[in-house]
């Protein structure tokens, strides 16, 4: 059975009639009442909490986004879509958007394949230490982003950090390397940290996916003369296709929501070179008391994720179902 995407309920469930049917009771009305009472009883707590603390605030954000508003006083300067137009005209907003896209692309071509390799390394053919390695790879994921930012600032420190130490091993002069202070390199320095933190999470997803692929299948292929690369590409990857789809989905939504690490490592600087959409929201909405504008950015982030989600459901998941 394959159900994989948010928002996607495979029709097979309903077609097969797997759903629960209430026992026929003497009075039909009573059964219906009982059924609806049960549904209400089961769904209400989640529904109330979710609506109160997620949906309503988000709708409010949507409303604020139509105003020029400092976050103080009455909402009276209606802008319509003015805030949205302003955003797309802003060079720094476009940098932030571009950075987010870059993070997504490079996560897909570097972080996820690495995570997949890690999974292959530790999940197949158990050997001494594989469980330990798995734990270690996963470990950065359990640490707070804000804490990770603090640690890596320390590691990247231009005067006593690791890059400088390395350069002094290999070169004679006492060159200092300030990655986070370089508008070209800071992005990559932060990208490494993002990979370091999230690789373990995606690895665990892949390991879980691999549990569903019998090792005998691979052994059989090897006996038939397939190379290991062939096994990976022709047997393993197609078998865990759905896991990969989930991992890609979470990776993309996560990338667009990236904030704490970037913030802790340089607040989107130097000169906005590491700005992401959420740090942009923070720098240009919160810090400048432009709350209406900030809300518009929040709406844009949401819309990007939504559009992506719909596209993804329609084409990618659709393909996988065939």
């Amino acid at each position: 059975m394959t159900w994989v995407s948010p928002g996607h309920i495979p029709s097979t469930v309903e077609d097969e009639g797997r759903h629960y049917i209430m026992k026929p009771l003497t009075a039909k009305g009573k059964a219906s009442f009982q059924k609806h009472a049960t549904i209400l009883f089961l769904v209400a707590p989640a529904f109330i909490l979710f609506t109160t603390f997620v949906v309503l605030p988000v709708l409010q954000s949507g409303y604020y986004s139509l105003f020029q508003w400092k976050g103080l006083g009455p909402l009276n300067n209606f802008q319509g879509v003015g805030n949205f137009i302003r955003a797309f005209k802003d060079r720094i907003f476009r940098i932030a958007l571009y950075n987010n896209v870059k993070i997504v692309i490079f996560s897909l071509i570097i972080q996820l394949p690495l995570a997949f390799s890690f999974a292959l390394l530790v999940a197949r053919k158990k050997y001494t230490g594989s469980v330990f390695f798995r734990g270690l790879y996963f470990f950065p994921y359990v640490m707070a982003e804000i804490v990770i930012g603090i640690i890596w600032r320390f590691i990247y420190h231009p005067q006593h950090g690791l890059p400088t130490l390395f350069s002094q091993w290999f070169t004679a002069d006492k060159m200092e390397i300030g990655l986070l202070g370089d508008t070209n390199l800071a992005f990559w320095a932060i990208f490494i940290v993002v990979c370091w933190k999230y690789i373990g999470f995606h690895m665990i997803l892949y390991i879980a996916g691999l549990q569903g692929v019998p090792e005998e299948l691979e052994d059989a292929a090897v006996i038939d003369g397939a190379s290991k690369v062939q096994v990976v590409f022709h047997i393993i990857i197609p078998s865990i296709r759905n896991t990969i789809i989930i991992s890609v989905f979470l990776c993309i939504v996560g990338s667009f929501n990236l904030f704490d690490i970037v913030w802790a490592m340089g607040q989107g600087g130097p000169v906005h070179s590491t700005e992401t959409l959420v740090t942009y929201l923070y720098n240009f909405g919160f810090k400048r008391f432009a709350f209406g504008y900030g809300s518009a950015i929040a709406v844009i982030i949401f819309l990007i994720c939504l559009v992506f989600n719909l596209f993804y459901q329609k084409y990618i998941v659709g393909e996988a179902q065939k």
């Binding site: 089961l42 000169v271 400048r288």
Partner: protein, 433 residues
Amino acid sequence: MKKLGIMVMTGLLLLILSAVFFAGCAKEDKEEVTEQDKVTITWWALSAGGGDESRERLRLKVIEDFEAQNPNVEVELTMLENEAFKQKIQVAVQAGAPPDLFHSWGGGVMVEYAEAGQLRDITGFVKSDLSKIVGIGALGVYGYDGKYYGSPYDMGAVGMWYNKAIFEEIGASVPKTWPELLAVIKKAKAAGYIPIALGGGDKWPAHFWWVYLAMRIGGQDAFNAAYGGSGSFKDPTFVKAGEMLLELAALEPFQTGFLGATYDDQAALMGNGKAAMELMGQWAPATEASNSDTGDGIGDDLGWFSFPAVPGGTGKNTDVMGGGNGYVVGKDAPDETLDLLKFFLQKEYNIELIDVEGIIPVAKGAEEALEGTLNSVIAEAVAGAGYYQLYYDQFLPPAVGEAVKDAVVALLAGQASPAQAAAMVDDAWQMEK
């Protein structure tokens, strides 16, 4: 069987509801009690961070003394680290729930709060009571449009801190003019020192340079023209400030990676004797010490001079850019809050704060306690200033303050020309005005 399931589920649902209920009640109960017997004052103050609790201890002592004299009052103190405070206060104010007494640097942010009706106008109290213990000039930073909203307890100046030992080694004397400063930088660089430490990642230490240059070039008139509307931030003064800053940057006086460095890093370079100079406020010695490897900084080797003059500039060398720390009063604050503020500002506590926070005191008579310390030089500079300018990033509205900082950093990174940087500031200012 079915009943059991229902019972369990009902139980869990009840648990959730009761959690919500109790959480609500817990709060209400507290309010009820306090309404009946006691006046509660909420007070948000800045902590030093780094596990240093001396600031909190002093304030708790103040509270204890105050509560002893006013048994009907209860003060709830919340100590917050700088960045955390900024995030938290903004949301609290936006939600219409400012604490009764909270930290403020005066200027633009305070004005935003005041205009939104989130601060209590205490003009009467300032005139009748506070002006007797605090100089009216210092109080002016916490006023706007003839109204007062709070008071500083610390008012200092930004200036050049330098390492005397390094200066001696390279044979440099204190520079009085901009070209002399550039000459010292070259000497320090040649001797293998970092001429100037700068935490460019935090942006605000960088903006000091541009603002001071503008002050020396165009003086008070240039700023008033731009601020008042008869001129703009695109005026020659501000473009020239950018050009001169680039002249400085061309010598590569800052440490490697300064654009990503924090103020902590800057202080550490000074405190460890690796950098020759920094442009910073009155808190610099304390910060250098706590960020140094030894914990003591460079001690007596540390010296201070005012920002050098620019040849041909109309600004005076005695003009001072600075600022300080203080408290403003929230809109719903009970009257007792004013008494607490006055109580906190008394001379004895202000003198204690010199040690605890490295302040320049504002209470009349407290400056005597500075005698013989470096801070007395700063106090004199403040007292003798004909034109005292609060840091731009505090004085101007937040959106403009942020634009100034962004523009200066872009300039230093070579991503904006002096004219573009000036235009960035002016665009933000015109939008805000």
